[in-house]
Amino acid sequence: MRGFHPSHFWAMVAFALCVSVAFAVLARRSAGSRIKYALWSLVLFLAIGIGIAWLMYPLSK
């Protein structure tokens, strides 16, 4: 079986999405605040991940 090989970016998106949903349902009670929390958490995961990737970019040369 070959397995599922997403790009680094899509692996990060899938991870961030699942963890953001879990954080939101555990940390907030109402639907509206859960959606806001999940979106905010997702954006922060992605922004910080991409930021760290750019910081590490010079090391790849």
Binding site: H8, A11, C18, A22, V25
Partner: protein, 136 residues
Amino acid sequence: MATDTPVVQKSADRLAAEALLAAIAAWAVPGLGHLILRRWGRAIFLFLAVGGLALTGFAMRGQLFGRQSNDPFGALGFLADACAGAFYFLPRFFHMAAPDVSRAAGDYGTRFLAAAGVVNLLGMVDAYRIASGRKH
């Protein structure tokens, strides 16, 4: 006042037993602890989040750590993986592809599987706190 004490004590014991049951159920099947407590939203989304992480990890051919690990990282990996409950035992019951950490995807898959366990651990603590009346 003296006659109230045994009733209060019994109620506290029952609360503690229910909290323990909710935590064990939350470990066995992600979301089940909240389902018992009638927290439907938390139950469904926790199951989807933990299941999503675990199934993506298996699809990426991540590695599950076994009990007999010689190094501390392996032991920590086992603890994290085992917290995923039913999802930890899936490969034993279904024919799934063997782990392949020689590729980046397999290595990521290993992290997904560990994250599934850690997220479920948060769910277990949450179910325990709700059942014991410490959280609403």
